[in-house]
């Protein structure tokens, strides 16, 4: 996988999500992603950004335009220094929430993207990396 372009933004307040989402949309349009895939990656990004805000008091996101073979895509790294997730398997289950919400953010995001990886360490923070291929 080759990175063609990289940009970082910090997400500290709810209003920071709007410019981030707009930027993401620009990249998605630029690589010619279909409307359905655009909507999927934007929704996934929205879930992960909200989690950072809600559970970790904010964090940093890096957007990359990547390419593998003939396929272009967008890769995002969400990194926070929050409390971490004690049981990732549990957090990945539909409906599990410690925040009185639907508990669909993490498992739903995994279904919306092409590649999904999560690492977390209690007391250190959480990193979620997702990739959506243009036609994936």
């Amino acid at each position: 996988m080759v990175t063609l372009n990289r940009e970082s933004m910090s997400i500290m307040r709810e209003i920071d999500v709007i410019p981030f989402r707009n930027r993401l949309k620009e990249y998605a349009v630029k690589i010619g992603m279909s409307l359905v895939n655009q909507t999927k990656i934007i929704t996934a990004a929205s879930e992960l950004a909200r989690n950072m805000l809600k559970y970790a008091n904010g964090g940093k996101v890096t957007i990359e335009v990547v390419s593998k073979g003939r396929e272009n895509g967008i890769r995002m790294v969400f990194k926070d220094e929050g409390p971490g997730i004690p049981d990732i398997d549990k957090a990945m289950k539909d409906g599990f929430s410690t925040g009185k919400s639907l508990g669909l953010g993490l498992p739903g995001t995994k279904r919306l993207v092409s590649e999904f990886a999560i690492t977390s360490e209690v007391g250190k923070g959480t990193t979620v990396i997702v990739t959506k291929w243009k036609n994936g």
Binding site: T39, K40, T43, S46, E47, L102, L112
Partner: protein, 288 residues
């Protein structure tokens, strides 16, 4: 003994001001539409007075000195009000940095020794640069305040409740549906239901860019609240790409009446109220 530069500035205050005004007025981007030349002059004079009066042997080498706080305050006030009036950062930058040109210009005329001129100039440059940085910081803060105020205004005005028919309300939602906004939408809607005695509400989300799990949760909550009031709530404007995304996310909207367009939601609403829209018969056909 007083620093050479301070003595020069005190003596030549008038010349500095004239120079400064000349530089500012020479800028092509000068916004005479936003501020008259008289206002610009009095603003400049106030700042220059404060600067020269506060300048002393102790602080001329120390841009962070607390004696400059008063000037930074004046500058911040100017900077914030300019940000709100719609000045660009460039114009505000020129306001500060042309003062540097004016001060250096006068120093150059008065100090003949190049070494001394260099030393004094450097001090002035450092002080004005630090003013410049403060100015930009406050300028951006001013702009952020404008943005925050607009955000509030937008969420206020962009949640109208429309009485589309007797007993039918419509709420077009445009933009992001966050928690604060949902609260406003819900309050407006419930109040209108009571006031108008409506039994059907259509929530149109054609203008919502993305429906994530939080937005969905808000929508479901609004529907439940409407039902508690004895009214039915239809969600319309779910575009195909949003429908697909919602399904992948795993959101269950089966308990909610959803329609693709506002028109089809209205049709359903007419049906629920046992109303029918029929084409008017031509005049002759009736008389026939």
């Amino acid at each position: 003994m007083k620093n050479e530069a301070i003595k020069i500035f005190q003596k030549k205050k008038k010349a500095v001001l004239e120079n400064w005004m000349k530089f500012q007025l020479a800028d092509e981007g000068l916004r005479e539409d936003l501020m008259s030349n008289e206002d610009l002059r009095s603003q400049s004079e106030e700042l220059l007075d404060a600067f020269i009066d506060n300048l002393s042997d102790e602080n001329i080498d120390d841009p962070a000195n607390s004696a400059f706080e008063a000037i930074v305050d004046i500058l911040s006030g100017i900077s914030i009000s300019r940000a709100k009036q719609g000045f660009s950062p460039r114009e505000t930058g020129i306001f500060v940095f042309s003062l540097k040109d004016a001060l250096l210009n006068v120093l150059q005329q008065e100090i003949k020794d190049p070494q001394e001129l260099y030393v004094q100039s450097l001090k002035i440059i450092k002080i004005i640069d630090s003013f410049g940085i403060s100015t930009f910081e406050t300028f951006i803060k001013g702009r952020e305040e404008v943005i925050l105020r607009q955000t509030d205004e937008i969420s206020e005005i962009s949640t109208p409740v429309i009485r589309v028919w007797d007993g039918i309300l419509a709420l077009p939602i445009i933009g992001t549906l966050d928690s604060a906004r949902t609260q406003i939408v819900m309050e407006n809607l419930l109040q209108e239901i009571v006031e108008s005695g409506s039994s059907i509400a259509i929530l149109d989300i054609s203008g919502v860019p993305a429906v994530d799990s939080l937005v969905a949760q808000h929508l479901i909550k609004t529907v439940s609240a409407t039902r508690l009031m004895g009214a039915e709530c239809i969600i319309s404007g779910i575009r195909p790409e949003i429908a697909q995304t919602v399904v992948h996310l795993g959101i269950d909207l089966s308990q909610v009446v959803t329609k693709a367009s506002l028109a089809s939601a209205l049709k359903t609403a007419f049906g629920l109220l046992q109303l029918q829209v029929v084409k008017k018969q031509k005049q002759q056909q009736i008389t026939e």
